[in-house]
Amino acid sequence: MSTAADSSPTSGERVVPNGPVWLFRDTATEATRHLIATWRNPDLLVFAAIQPIMFVVLFVYVFGGSIAVPGFASYEQFVVPGIFAQTVVFGSAFTSIGIAEDMSKGFIDRLRTMPMYPSAVLIGRTVSDLMRNLFTFVIMLAVGLLVGFRLEGGLGAGLVATLLLLGFAYAFSWIQAYIGLSVRSVEAANSAGFIWMFPLTFVSSAFVPTESMPGWLQPIAVNNPFTIVTNATRALYNGSPPGNDLWVAIAWAIGIIVVFATMSFRKYSATSG
């Protein structure tokens, strides 16, 4: 790859910059594009916030009375971290929809013909979706606190739990990025991005203890990475030691990012055909 220095200075010559500073700048430019758009369409943000609020309220008041989980002072201490986890993971689906939209409108092709860093397109997208997720999380936390959820583990552990959740959701954004690059339409991205997340988040410890499930389902639920991340954050929010779950959850997040980011970069750069 050559640098600006050896290209002849004809008219219209633009530098083709290399290096982390330029990667960062291209990424920031792309992330800004999506953040401006989100800001312009606050209805999307409102809907992104309404669903988790509904979930918190429904679960706590509808099931709260009938479900008692051993080891937890109240159902909200048990279920609210599960809803947090489900919501941020569902939030990652915006990545596949957004990328599919850019693809179908030919915008990705435009970006592919520009001298920017190709990886900045995907990193910018996932980072802006992380910001959106952070916003949703803040609203959810506020609602959780209103219905009686408490950070029993203190602020420090609560912060670690929150970072773990957002990191895990960020990892899922990369799965979604790959899906978005693979499907042929926005509608397909919508289904392909969401459908598998229902079993993933419900066959887990998010809403009920895994021990209450039928025997054949338990091994799946227990080993589900979503269960592991839920258990780790739930322990941290409730002030009990997360044990190995914390490290296994971090390993899952890193593993998913490495595998799916690599696959997505390849898919993005692979000139079709």
Binding site: M1, S2, S7, S8, T10, S11, G12, E13, R14, V15, V16, P17, W22, R25, D26, T29, E30, R33, I36, A37, R40, N41, D102, K105, G106, F107, D109, R110, L111, R112, T113, M114, P115, M116, T271, S272, G273
Partner: protein
Amino acid sequence: MPAVVAEGLEKRFGETRALCGVDFKIERATVLGVLGPNGAGKTTAVRILTTLLRPDGGRAWIDGIDVVAEPRRARARIGVTGQYAAVDERLTGFENLQLVGRLFHMTPAEARRRAGEMLDRFSLDEAGGRVVKGYSGGMRRRLDIAMSLIAEPSVLFLDEPTTGLDPRSRLEMWDVIDGLVADGTTLLLTTQYLDEAERLADEIVVIDHGSVIAQGTAAQLKARSGGDRVEVTLGDVAALGRVAGLLAGFAQPGVAETIDEAARSVTVPVATTERIVPSVVRSLDDAGIEVLDVVVRRPTLDDVFLQLTGHRAEDPEPTEDPSVVDPSDTAAKPVPR
């Protein structure tokens, strides 16, 4: 050094050979029109030149930069506008332009200044602050081209810039392209419209089934397809066959007549135009055929295409019978001039 060189470009998709060795070049500050029907390979060629597609064979250079070996350097020198306006409709026109400027690595101030200039140049200054979602089709295309030009590329690629536009927007787009040409932009334009290639391009490459079948200026291509035409229009479709038989007697040797049922006309290239109209009228009269019109005209690019390929340029598919033209496709009729 030419701005663009394509040499033996080949591309296959599965069993289909989209390009089978395409060569052309574009001199600086000229317009190359790549003309061909749907599926001829025009877009494939453009996608290879713009680094979106890797060729299976052959090479291509932009300003001497190999597009396969150094795609990012090549990208710094091109602007691309595809068949669909690639704009972010969630942003304003200004923001779209600014974004592209930034991704071409302008400073924030330069990106803002250039964005303003482009809005002005493409008569979008009033709409510049509005979200693109509310733009008309023509405005989106203009914004799309403005985005492709903001970094002053040395070559601009316009892939079917007027496909799907209503006639008014099409004329508007021609004006925009005229402006680009006047400014000395090097341009590759693909089109399935003969009048468009004729009007906008300095040099025309005709592609059919992935191969270049003719190349030259519009005048050269017309000269190649022989001399003037006699076109006879009838009131009654049924007589077309008999008229074709009669006209064959006036035709240049070895050239077939064209029957257009939709237009109820028969066209034939003639060796000489001297006293041709009276002779044709007399022989038709003798045969008792009622004629609406007999004209002598210069060949159009449509005639050229028909002669080279056996089908019309704007047919979506090559039909079994080249004389059958979809009556709804009014653009397929040659325009008498």
